[in-house]
């Protein structure tokens, strides 16, 4: 990664230029889209949850702990996708190895170490099977692994009768819930420590709930796995070949790379990672069962793509996947803490994936116009959210009045009403309340509708003066909206104004950045 700061001595740059250089450097990284989405979502959840703190070490570590298993699986998937392949079977392989590892440990009396080796061995064998079909028989990876999705899931159910095992031996905890500080804390509590160790023990005990309790093996293994893997990929021939095969397979073959062997190795690693992910999962799960890991292939692919890796291969990074996995788990964690309605969670999850990938596409285009449009869209979306604050009340009132009228019409036509219809009939007081709600929100809705339409037009034709006027309009609306009684909507307007103001200076920023890197 080379950038402007290397070619020019740092002290000569003004603060502004240094900020620009930093910004450019940040957006050159593949993982910037995912990281930005994580920060934005984290801030939103922090604001939405009043009594529980989101940005708190123990909560962040919980997210990391729960990301570990799927994260390792996604790490293997990243390499496969980098070779322009795909592996739809990882979820099933994870379930198969989890079930069989638990099975041989529980019912065949295998010592834990042997059971673990068995699981990892099964993973490698499955990967060898999938990889051979793809690399040496020329079967499309999509088909082979789609078949594998079914075959390995079925095999897992068949071999274990789809029955859960009893609780696993404690050795499995070392892959998951084991806490390296737990022993120290226990020793301190028992008064067995002296000297400096006693001080350390006291510190751990005092900060147990808000920090050390969640410092668990899952998280450590997760981070270590990505560290080691990214070092391997960056520094070995294997890593370079993965990228080469993904960007131009015939070319790589002509250059003398044994593409078949490296493709086979990659699929073996992918299934091995799925088996390793199964171990990490078992370290936190109540028992082993063959229906673990359902839909994990989709989560893993989503994490890889959110992390900025191209589905066409040859471009992407492991750290992007790392961020992508965290983003997915953070959505679950944060939305649970925020106690958002389940159905909204589904919508929000999809929306965040679009945002992360949208940032990535704009980032890759290196086109100032695309960046301006993105920021202008953010502004328009914020105006829309502000609009919906009163408009949702208006819409709900209008819809319930409409449904009442439709149910009445049915009744007058002599139809028998289904229970769902009867529930939509309203008492006279309710009708009056709905009419009142619609009336009182009408003006606010109309004013904000105008603002939203202007912001939407601005996406497509945004000269700088007009954008700045619009941003000023947002600022003016802040007290107005607050006076109308929608204080909840003011953060949207602040964020929208910031995005719009920033969009006005995108071109200047790009020019400056270009001249900096030309120096």
């Amino acid at each position: 990664m080379t950038d402007a700061t290397h070619s020019t001595p740092v002290p000569r740059l003004s603060l502004q230029d240094r900020m620009i250089a930093l910004l450019v450097r940040f957006f050159r990284a593949e993982w910037s889209g995912a990281l930005l989405a994580i920060v934005i979502l984290g801030l939103a959840i922090e604001v939405a949850t009043t009594d529980t703190m989101f940005f708190r070490p123990s909560n962040l570590m919980t997210i990391l702990n729960n990301s570990a298993a799927i994260g390792v699986v996604a790490g293997g998937m990243t390499l496969i996708i980098l070779t322009a392949g795909i592996d739809l079977s990882v979820g099933s392989v994870m379930g198969l190895t989890a079930a069989l590892t638990g099975y041989v440990a529980s019912f065949w009396g295998f010592p834990p170490a042997l059971a673990i080796l068995t699981g990892l061995g099964i993973g490698l064998a499955v990967g060898a099977f999938n990889g051979t079909l793809v690399a040496y028989f020329g079967m499309p990876a999509f088909i082979v692994t789609l078949a594998g999705l079914s075959i390995w899931r079925g095999t897992g159910h068949l071999t274990t009768n789809a029955q859960a095992t009893p609780k696993l031996p404690e050795a499995f905890d070392y892959f998951g819930r084991y806490n390296p500080f737990a022993g120290l804390r226990q020793a301190y509590r028992d008064g067995e420590l002296t000297g400096i160790w006693e001080n350390i023990g006291a510190f751990v005990d005092a900060n147990w709930l808000n920090f050390f309790r969640t410092f668990q093996m899952s998280m450590l293994i997760f981070i270590a796995f990505f560290l080691v893997l990214s070092i391997v990929v960056a520094n070995t021939r294997y890593g370079r070949y993965v990228y080469a095969i993904g960007s131009n397979e015939p070319g790589a073959r002509q250059a003398g790379i044994n593409t078949r062997r490296y493709t086979l190795m990659t699929y073996m690693f992918g299934s091995f990672a799925a088996a390793f992910g199964a171990l990490l999962f078992l370290g936190r799960a109540p028992y082993a069962k063959s229906d673990y890991g359902q839909m994990w292939e989709l989560d893993a692919i989503a994490a890889v793509v959110i992390g900025g890796t191209s589905l066409f291969g040859g471009r992407g990074s492991l750290w992007g996947t790392f961020m992508g996995v965290i983003l997915l788990k953070l959505i679950n964690n944060g939305l649970t803490l925020a106690q958002l309605n389940t159905f909204w969670q589904m919508v929000v999850t999809g929306g965040i994936i679009l945002v992360a990938v949208g940032i990535d596409i704009v980032r890759q285009s290196r086109d100032p116009e695309a960046v301006r449009k993105l920021l202008a869209t953010v502004g328009a979306f914020m105006a829309f959210l502000t609009l919906m604050t009163p408009a949702s009340v208006w819409l709900r009132a209008k819809i319930s009045l409409g449904e009442h009228a439709a149910a009445m019409a049915l009744r007058e036509a002599g139809d028998t009403l289904a229970p769902g219809h009867t529930a939509r009939l309203m008492e006279p007081e309710a009708i009056q309340a709905a009419q009142l709600a619609a009336q009182s929100t009408l003006v606010g809705t109309l004013v904000l509708l105008v603002l939203t339409i202007l912001a939407a037009v601005n996406i497509f034709r945004g000269a700088r003066p007009m954008t700045l006027v619009l941003a000023a309009g947002f600022v003016v609306m802040i007290p107005v909206v607050a006076l109308m009684g929608y204080q909840a909507a003011t953060p949207f307007l602040v964020l929208g104004a910031c995005a719009l103001a920033a969009s006005a200076f995108v071109f200047t920023l790009f020019e400056r950045a270009r001249s900096l890197s030309h120096d």
Binding site: D51, T52, M53, R56, S58, N59, T62, I63, N65, N66, S150, H157, A162, Q163, A164, P166, G176, R177, N179, A182, L209, R213, T214, Q216, F281, R284, A285, P286, Y287, K289, S290, D291, Y292, Q294, K329, N332, N333, T336, L337, Q339, T342, F343, Q345
Partner: protein
């Protein structure tokens, strides 16, 4: 997917053709899951009833839990190939209705098992009244905490009537008896890993949680794993389950679970297929068969284990 269904169709045809020679009545049984511990008990009941009645049971599950389209297709195959009666556990109450209507008008009795059909008549609906049992669960849970204690409720899929009824029933009685208690919800789609992660996240963000109530026992086991992950011991945070699955009963014996409203799962499958066989012979069948429930507590667990033949 299509190919898989074609195979399933061919397999059904082969089974039906094979059994026609033995002149047994063929009863179709469309289950919701073949891998969920609770469903395996229902399926066992169904298989035993079929053996007792001397009918041929053709049982087919969806390719994954919640897959309506494959259930519909299997349904149509069974009708087309001359099943005498069909027991079905719909993954979607209203989604299955058109297929049920077609079969009923073709004179094939339909027995809904566990989950009702909305928008179509069935010959009989064999199930525990989820709402009523969930109210009992709310009662039992309220007895375990003080008013004002914060509790977690792990929900089932809120897009299904079973999940809605269990949640609403619990909330109704619990909130009536413990009005000052805060109930924090962990939404799931009947996935124990989701339950575990959600409970872990909440236990981490606050330390005043006294109890975790679950809409099904997969959630109970997930919540137990979450407690273990954070170093809690048995009984530090009380657990309340739903289903009476055997692993939750084991956890009760270890002191983790304090109450579990058991559905008579085995009875549901058993009585469902009994009713289907009777209807296939043209006998009258009670249109609503309630299979009841059993409140398992540490005091009654021995009795319950004897009842379901555990250990």
């Amino acid at each position: 997917m299509n190919m898989k269904l074609t195979f399933a169709g061919a397999a059904i045809a082969a089974l039906i053709a094979g059994t026609a020679a033995q002149a047994q009545d063929v009863i179709g049984y469309i289950t919701k899951s073949a891998t969920n511990a609770g469903w395996m008990m229902i399926n066992q009941g169904a298989a035993d009833a079929a053996a007792e009645e001397g009918v041929q049971l053709v049982s087919v599950g969806p390719s994954f839990q919640g897959d309506l389209s494959s259930q519909l297709e299997v349904f149509e195959n069974l009708v087309a190939q001359g099943a005498k009666a069909i027991g079905v556990a719909p993954v979607d109450s209203s989604g299955i209705a058109p297929a049920v209507n077609d079969a009923m008008s073709a004179g094939i009795p339909i027995i809904a098992i566990d989950t009702g059909v909305s928008g179509a008549d069935v010959t009989s609906f064999v199930a525990t009244d989820n709402f009523a049992v969930a109210k009992e669960q709310g009662n039992a849970a309220a007895g375990l905490v003080e008013d004002g204690d914060a509790v977690i409720y792990v929900t089932g899929n809120q897009a299904q009537s079973t999940g809605q009824e269990r949640r609403n029933g619990f909330m109704e009685t619990f909130k009536a008896q413990r009005p000052k208690s805060e109930v924090i919800e962990v939404p799931t789609e009947w996935d124990s890993a989701q339950a575990q992660e959600g409970v872990e996240a909440i236990l981490n963000s606050r330390d005043d949680i006294k109890m975790v109530v679950n809409a099904w026992d997969g959630g109970t086991m997930g919540a137990k794993a979450a407690l273990e992950n954070l170093g809690y011991g048995a009984g530090d945070v009380k657990l309340v389950g739903f289903d009476g699955a055997s692993d939750a009963i084991v956890a009760m014996d270890e002191g983790w679970v304090h109450a579990d409203t058991a559905q008579m799962l085995y009875q549901m499958g058993y009585q469902g297929i009994k009713a289907a066989a009777a209807a296939a012979r043209g006998e009258d069948v009670n249109p609503r068969i309630d299979t009841g429930y059993f409140l398992v507590t540490p005091e009654t667990s021995a009795e319950y284990k004897k009842m379901i033949g555990m250990e």
